[in-house]
């Protein structure tokens, strides 16, 4: 199975690899997946007083598509409000990276990581977590 150019690009030059201070109340952290399943994503967002995402970082244990999905997610998160970020759909990632059907779960995981990071930030700052009712593709 060949990877798309965009997956290879994100995999070879991953954007925003790193760690934010998870104890800061301005930082939301989402850790999703499981080592037994072969992928774990940690996505973190730094949010300013206007609920705008000013920085995003990730680290991912997983295949090339999982790494590329999380790298892309951090790019998309920067500059978005947490409300807009909540609307990022896994199928947008699938489309952007041209993921084949067997790799759709990587995009699902990235979406889950985004939502988990936002909810972590929301709860830390006195807001309620938003339950996702969406059925994944």
């Amino acid at each position: 199975m060949a990877y798309s150019d965009k997956v290879i690009d994100h995999y070879t030059n991953p954007r925003n690899v790193g760690t934010l201070d998870k104890s800061s109340h301005k930082v939301g952290t989402g850790l999703v997946g499981a080592p037994e399943c072969g992928d774990v994503m940690r996505l973190q967002i730094q949010v300013d007083d206007n609920n705008m995402i000013t920085d995003a970082k990730f680290k991912t244990f997983g295949c090339g598509s999982a790494i590329a999905s999380s790298s892309l997610a951090t790019e998309w998160l920067k500059g978005k409000s947490i409300d807009d970020a909540m609307k990022i759909d896994n199928m947008d990632i699938v489309e952007e990276l041209a993921l084949p059907p067997v790799k759709i779960h990587c995009s699902v995981l990235a979406e889950d990581a985004i939502k988990a990071a936002i909810n972590d930030y929301r709860v830390k700052n006195g807001m309620t977590a938003i339950e996702s009712e969406k059925v994944h593709h």
């Binding site: 999703v32 080592p35 399943c37 072969g38 774990v40 244990f61 997983g62 295949c63 790494i67």
Partner: protein, 403 residues
């Protein structure tokens, strides 16, 4: 040095140019059907097949009449297991095999179960070897066949074949071995090992794809298998179908070359493999899978913890290797062989199999070491698990959301 570098010789091997050379005339000028008894075209083909039969027999210590040519080891495994079951089912219906066998053996056994057979799948110890006491205990009066692979395709461990054969025989059962990975790599002898049926394949020993053989013992005891394909009654009635003469010539030549070069090749390859392995084990949290003492000379299966195998292979794009990671299999399950060693799923996901071969050079191994180390370090920088491990967090205590 040409890139990419091929280190997946357990999957298949490139054909030796000397094998190709031997085969070529049998595609064009010497094209006859080996079953044509009435003209020189047939005689030439038959002569070539007979010669190849001797070459194959010699490599495993058999006689030429005991070699049945097939389309490959999958067919040989099927013919041996289903063929023995059908032939001996009045004597008993029990077969013993192991959980780490190749799918060709496991699935043939599943088929036997559907036909009313009873199959015991022996577990393996954490080094990949079977427990002989457990085998002994599993034998019963209706056991007709014990089938244990010689060398494992994923981790390279070599089972105690002589001891297993002796236990089978003591209880009146036949002993069969899938020796695809071992034949031509280490000395295999059906007489001294006590093997009654043995499957081998050409393309794992620098021969062509699509041809293999099944050794069926003729003396002490005379073993028979029921044919699985109906037709012209070729190969002493055990395997019908016009013989693949060029392929068979290639298999014969490949066996002859192994006979001549195996000993020096094994020495050279185990030295290179050991160099690769010891260099890679310098990486923190890396582990060899399977027994390292009883192991094929050209294989090393290593897990690099906190790094996922498919992601790693993507970084090592100039190396052709394979992984036990789920992402590389159609089933999305990590390797059943590694799991049967008691490896946790995450270590199975982190495994890479390096399979060296006749054409692997030291320069290539040095390059592989460098690329693998660099890639593991790179991916650990990206790995949240590595970071948590470094911070001293016990990953087993985290409640992961399985998906």
């Amino acid at each position: 040095m040409d890139l990419p570098i091929y280190l997946d010789n357990n999957a298949t091997t490139p054909m030796d140019p000397r094998v190709l050379e031997a085969m070529l005339p049998y595609f064009t000028t010497k094209f006859g059907n080996a079953a044509s008894r009435n003209h020189p075209f047939g005689w030439v083909a038959e002569e070539a097949v007979d010669y190849a039969r001797e070459q194959v027999a010699k490599l495993i210590g058999a006689t030429e009449k005991e070699i049945i040519f097939t389309s490959g080891a999958t067919e040989s495994d099927n013919l041996a297991i289903k063929g023995v079951f059908e032939m001996y089912k009045d004597k008993g219906n029990h077969i013993i095999t192991t959980v780490t066998e190749h799918k060709a053996v496991l699935d043939a056994c599943k088929h036997v179960e559907k036909m009313g057979g009873r199959v015991t799948y022996l577990p393996v110890k954490e080094d990949g070897l079977i427990d002989l006491d457990l085998l002994e205990q599993s034998m019963s009066s209706d056991t007709i066949l014990v089938s244990v692979m010689y060398g494992n395709n994923e981790i390279g461990v070599i089972q105690p074949i002589k001891e297993i054969a002796a236990i089978a025989h003591k209880h009146g059962a036949l002993f069969m071995t899938d020796a695809v990975q071992a034949v031509g790599k280490i000395p295999v002898n059906v007489i001294t090992d006590g093997i009654d049926l043995l499957a081998l394949s050409a393309h794992k020993i620098y021969g062509p794809k699509g041809v293999g053989a099944l050794y069926v013992r003729r003396k002490g005891p005379r073993v028979k298998v029921t044919a699985q394909m109906d037709g012209g009654g070729h190969e002493r009635g055990m395997r019908s179908g016009t013989l693949n003469v060029p392929g068979i010539v290639g298999l014969g030549k490949a066996c002859e070359l192994c006979m001549q070069e195996m000993e020096s090749e094994a020495k050279r390859l185990s030295a290179l493999r050991d160099k690769l392995q010891s260099s890679l084990l310098e990486l923190e949290e890396s582990y060899v899978n399977g027994n390292t003492e009883h192991r094929l000379p050209h294989v090393a299966n290593i897990s690099f913890k906190y790094v996922e195998g498919e992601g790693l292979m993507m970084a090592m794009k100039d190396l052709a290797v394979s992984s036990g990671s789920a992402c590389t299999s159609a089933s999305l399950e990590p390797s059943y062989v590694l799991k049967s060693l008691g490896l946790s799923d995450d270590l199975a996901h982190s495994s890479i199999r390096f399979g060296l071969g006749r054409f692997t050079t030291e320069e290539e191994v040095d390059y592989a070491i460098e690329v693998t180390k660099k890639s593991v370090r790179h991916l650990r920088e990206l790995s949240p698990l590595w970071e948590m491990f470094k911070e001293g967090i016990d990953l087993d205590k985290i409640e992961w959301a399985e998906h």
